[in-house]
Symmetry: D2
Subunit: 483 residues, 4 copies
């Protein structure tokens, strides 16, 4: 099957190359216009990004951030539907009608504990508060900026079809897109685009990892730990035996698998046999297919641990994501636009800021690197992170960008990303992303053959698989106490 | 050595019996008067107890409770020294001068999470708030009531000497008396008395358990649990291996030893190799002598766990207590006064309330039992709880009472104790304790031979041991984050 | 219930005392004669003991030892039935007929690895071979000697009834008496006597411990530990998680419980995920009643461990024993005979030998101590060893003796016991035991009231309990590979 | 550095291709003659192989197998030195003199427990005895056959230089070649060849894994597990905590690392706290460089476990091997000879036998596959087995062959390899290997440029590394009890 796919890819490449040569003068013109649109809105977009940066709102609590984006879209003339998919901070902003329907994703949640000033050394703005350590303040804004540029062309009649911005909350925890997919919000879309802030500028063609999050709760019987521990059945013991089981199991998983856990509680006081414990478990693999049997095994172990400690147990699925179904046809189009745009240029002050961050984080002090690398080969097993964009990519063909918003080598999910994302380095990356995305959407709107090719690759790679998200029954865990 | 002590005890008994027969008519009269004093102050004492009950203040945070007791003492004419031993809520209230100096201990801290209404079924007053699940609202008040009764007799010239009330905070956690001993506050006392609320009325002649509390912290290196766990050194692993070591060690401790622990943190999020973990460990044995080698062993294990997980570690002594050095001579005198007082009598409503509590806690519905049992034999190895009165008992001869403040069979440290301690059942036990304590203090003040005998037994039992408390260097952990 | 038993015991004591005062001159005469009988057979008994000592045969392999005893009994005129209870080395030797039927137990198995010369320092006779480290070479011979003395009196018409010697193999492992009980061999006996070699001379009135032995086997799937460990399911992991479970469980058993295990195999080579593992587990408690729930718990854990490691498992009961049902009425009679006999006297050479053993084993060099101590109180929870005599004691009233065959303080199951048991120190203890046992049997044969009282105590203590041995279905494990 | 090597490889390839085109007619002629030599000795070689097959001798005990090969070499005129490197079963057989010196390796040890008849279903020849489950009966013989073919050409003056056969014992355990290298036996060799039986015919250009074997012993204090376990310090606990540590550590090693262990003993009986335990640990990684820090970590853990269980410990290096330093220049030459030889052809009976084996081992029944695949790319991280040829390859440039001696898909180290290696399938592979090896040696003897190129690649890849074998001080573990 791998061989078959490889052949197919060759075919796509050929086609893509052909299509790209066919770029019309109209497309060229429209690309210049969307780039201009982004530039003319630069101040508004920057201001919006800085406000979201300062809101510092974490997963499912992004009330102000979501409202700021939705309000802005509304002010531009988009039709906005708020609180979709039973999630107060999820929304859809749409403009135009008919085919094609091109979607674009925008995230805006922060990470706990990373609050930081806009300085190139660690310095919390609000000690202990969240911060945009993943650059999502830029993410949502750039995507909306790109959508706005396209909207202008639809409005002026240059483009036909529908542009739809998805305000997608809770990417860092819980994975909000899962419920948006479940609610059917992606059913009529032809192609989706997204991007992500990063230390490099490139088309994003690696799969990342599939993962599943679940909790195990153990329920025992409390007893005084000194007077009559023999009357206690320890939920703490069950949890510890469970983790022992997981660690022994590590020998028996493939090298692409990762299992990690967070002991959330294993008792409250020292002198009582604990009657309750809870652990958050995450299983990852380079594909959902490899993930499933490991997930089932680690779930099953909970019963074993419960039997050993003579307690009851409960396993709760939290959520999980698929690996990215990479679309190389769409990526190749994006790559051309990157090459057309060329690298971001930086001032000496920005490079100085970057080198100070690199110094503070122990990285080579090479400053910002924004040159456009050739499109990478898609590896069978990539490592790195996971994202709920993975799920979207199994439902709609998805084209992904990475744009430079922080110095080369910056450890992600750190104060350094917050710092750079709050000043001109981040702003420039955000604007760059808005341009590259809108240029590629121009290709999608003006070239029906391209959309067909993108969809054909998607269908071939998806094969027989019927998408099923890792989503528990019931409403999204907006006010979950599972923390 | 055991045989020698046994012989000595026989001698004390004989002496005690003799002394008790020698009770003077004056003592009899004074005992009647101190009993009357308690009764005449019943309303004030009850009010004070109910206020402390409603303050619900936990260890080292008993600001209002401490002030209420100290203010009351001051209002009665005691000389009050607040904030002793570097503890804001510790105080001493004294009256009179010269020999003998008789001390009496009063505790007043509550327990977390036990807030409860004055009803015979579980019903939190303030959900999640602390509650007086150990009856310390009654404890401090009764002791102060007894001191007040004695103070009246000193004031009127009937008794000579000094009565000193110790306001002792943080008995439930940290053990405040340790720092009061360290500050030298018990150096000039002849005999100390105390009591404890309970489900029975008796002289308290069991040793309880010695214990020591300490924390182990592990310091590793964080890493992304999926991308590069091999760059992480897990403080969580160290903690888990440490508890494994403790559990394997259980086979190799004597049956009187108990080891329990509370995992305080073993990481904060699921996808990071944790760089910090902390565990609270408690080791108990029926004596400090047996405790020490186990304590040393469990401390030493921390290094082993740290080596295994390639992390750093730190062991912090929190505090600890000695088992009670029981004074049977003094106890025998107290026993006589209990027999003289006879049991507490209850109304039908109180018995009904008691039976409802027993029903709700799954105990035989036999109501309140307050009859006076014969003085028990002191067992070589008793089980049950631990108290920092243990340390006082190795510094000064200590005579201890248990008085009924809750229905027979009530699980201690539970909502049921809070409920009963906030209404007449608790009040009656408190008044009873104040009477029994002040009557016994009359014996101590009027009979110098008794004091000598009590001290002789203390010295013989203490032998060569030079008291050393389980107290770390530096100030008491008033604002400790070690939780 | 405890109180009731205590009262009953008082009654028995009174009765016993009464009975003992009623000793007839005839009994006195017969006691002198049985003592003479033992003395006149001293050489033959000594020779027999030395032969069994040199056979060094372990559990269920005592072919020569069993034959030597059976042949000797046959040569004396006993009717011998060999190979009873499906055990080749078990036999019964009987003389006389009718009531009472008095049984006496004789063990003769050795312990692995304890071979030793008859010298007071460690010096293996046959390196690695078994040795009589529990003194059973003396045990069987003394009991048979006592039976022979009684047989002479029956033969001469002085006593009426039946004397029956039980040749009971495999006491050290597997517990042969269980199958002898299962075969009904104790159904018609009135009272049983036995003794055990030891470092003291006394009536044996402690309960010892109940225990149960079982094995857990885990069955996984082998795989190359380097190439594809993910295709392996590790029986070794299951075993290790199982022991982890046991060790965590130690916190939750009463102080009288002991759990220990022997990992028999957890894999054969380093580079294969093991598909088989096996562990021998022993659970003990001071009573069968306490034992059962722990036994069930530890068995149940095996399923938990199997689930955690994704393997199959099997639990095999090996065998187990009851604690001793102590008969204080019978013991009191034995005590009188001990006092009548007085202590064993030793030569200077024997004392010198004893002190050398004490020196070599790090004990106080006080030599042999054989004075007769007063009968001990029977403790609620005694510690120490376990024996399958426990099971006999729940089927027939059993009176037990301990006689000195090794220096005070000698660690049992050691080379020192082998050394002393092979020379005159052991021989003297053996002869002493034969005398004390036969004297007490004279009491049983001549005093029907005594037998009734002994049986009455037995019935009262046994209560409603219907004896059920810890014996698996099927034949005894004579050729078991469960090692 | 990787890039540099890649460039270098390109250079080698070019060179190699060039060299191969330069093959002289003389070389062609000699290749035909060495092939004829192998064919004419087919019966003798087959007989020798079958004898070694029937000797079934395991590591360091290959007395008969070694003698049979050495005798045969001697009978052919080789100069044989037996018992080299302090190993009785290691020998060197040499012929000729001067440059080049070409070595060839021959192994001959069997594997425990794999004895098997020459039938296509599992059927032990000698139940429990060893068997040639790795095909080493063929290995040594084919290599000697190839050496003999070269020797004939040297003897006849067609080739100049030295041919040297290394009789290398103990490849399956302990790794005999390590001590042969330590003894300097490879110091003057230009190029070494070897081969290995397998289910495919190809040049062997993967690295395999580096590994290190060591033992950890723990020394505690025995105690009766029931009477006084608190006096015991358990070596068993230490071992179990040690394995727990290893299993927790698995999260923190790179995906190429493998750690496995064999619990050799953790106590002998159920009722004694074990005072001794021993575990055999193996650490592997795709390179020695990656291996070392893991090896050091796992060693260090032993101290941690010892501290936790309060016992002493000792770590003993057993031995270990390097990954293969692959020589692609030499491999390319070998590849040409394979292509010249073409695949092995099989009879219907042989294919039938093969399919029956495939059926019995659950593999696709496709029979024997012997076609010559193109030379593989050398992977950065290959998985699979380890061999002490790895160490030779870091000391001398080494060219390696795999030849078909068992059906496709056969699980190695299984009865199926024994069966096929004892009949014509194995014999054919053996003869094929002898031909391919001798043909390639003809190239090495006749083409000095080839030898230079092979050595140049070796030097470049080896770089600065100064070889150091994983060999403990002292003599080889010939009679080791470390099992």
């Amino acid at each position: 099957m791998i061989k078959k796919i490889t052949l197919a890819l060759v075919a796509f490449f050929t086609l893509t190359t052909h299509l790209s040569h066919a770029q019309s003068p109209k497309a060229e013109k429209l690309k210049r216009e969307v780039v201009n649109s982004v530039e003319s809105n630069y101040e508004a977009l920057t201001d919006l990004s800085d406000r979201i940066w300062s809101f510092e709102e974490i997963a499912f609590q992004e009330t102000q951030s979501s409202a700021a984006l939705a309000d802005y879209a509304e002010s531009l003339g988009f039709t906005v539907t708020r609180g979709v998919a039973e999630i107060p901070t999820a929304f859809v902003a749409e403009y135009g009608s008919g085919s094609p329907v091109i979607g674009i994703l925008g995230e805006f949640d922060a990470l706990p504990g990373l609050s930081q000033n806009k300085v190139p050394y660690k310095s919390p703005l609000n000690e202990g508060a969240p911060g945009h350590g993943c650059g999502h303040n830029l993410f949502g804004v750039a995507s909306l900026g790109a959508a706005a540029a396209i909207k202008e062309q639809i409005e002026s009649g240059e483009l036909k079809g529908t542009i739809r911005f998805y305000g997608t909350p809770a990417e860092e925890k819980f994975f909000g897109k899962l419920w948006m997919i479940r609610a059917g919000l992606f059913e009529d879309v032809d192609v989706v685009m997204d991007w992500h802030p990063g230390p490099e500028t490139k088309t994003a063609v690696q799969k990342g990892l599939a993962l599943v999050d679940f909790q195990v709760e153990f329920f025992g019987q409390a007893a005084h730990a000194s007077s009559d521990p023999w009357n206690g059945r320890s939920a703490g013991d069950a949890l510890e035996l469970y983790t022992a089981g997981i660690n022994y199991y590590r020998e028996h998983v493939k090298p692409t698998v990762r299992i990690h856990y967070h002991i959330q509680t294993a008792g409250e006081v020292v002198n009582v046999v604990p009657d309750y414990s809870r652990i958050w478990v995450r299983v990852r693999d380079s594909s959902r297919e490899g993930l499933i049997p490991v997930y089932e095994r680690v779930q099953a172990m909970a019963e074993g641990a419960a039997i050993m400690a003579n307690v009851d147990f409960k396993v709760n699925l939290i959520s999980g994501v698929h690996e990215i179904l990479v679309n190389r046809t769409g990526s190749a189009t994006l790559q051309q636009n990157l090459e057309k745009l060329g690298p971001i240029s930086y001032t000496d002050d920005e490079q100085d800021f970057a080198r100070k961050i690199q110094e503070a984080t122990g990285k080579p002090q090479i400053g910002l690197v924004s040159k456009i690398e050739p499109m990478e080969e898609t590896l069978e097993n990539s490592m790195g992170g996971s994202t709920d964009v993975g799920d979207v990519s199994w439902v709609v063909p998805t084209i992904r960008l990475s744009a430079t918003t922080a110095p080369n080598g910056t450890p992600w999910h750190s104060w350094a990303v917050v710092a750079a994302g709050g000043m001109s380095i981040g702003h420039k990356g955000m604007a760059y992303a808005a341009k590259a995305l809108s240029m590629t959407m121009v290709d999608l709107f003006t070239n029906p053959e391209l959309v067909k090719s993108v969809q054909a690759e998607f269908k071939e790679k998806k094969g027989d698989y019927v998408y099923k998200g890792f989503v528990p029954e019931g409403p999204p865990p907006i006010n979950s106490k599972l923390q």
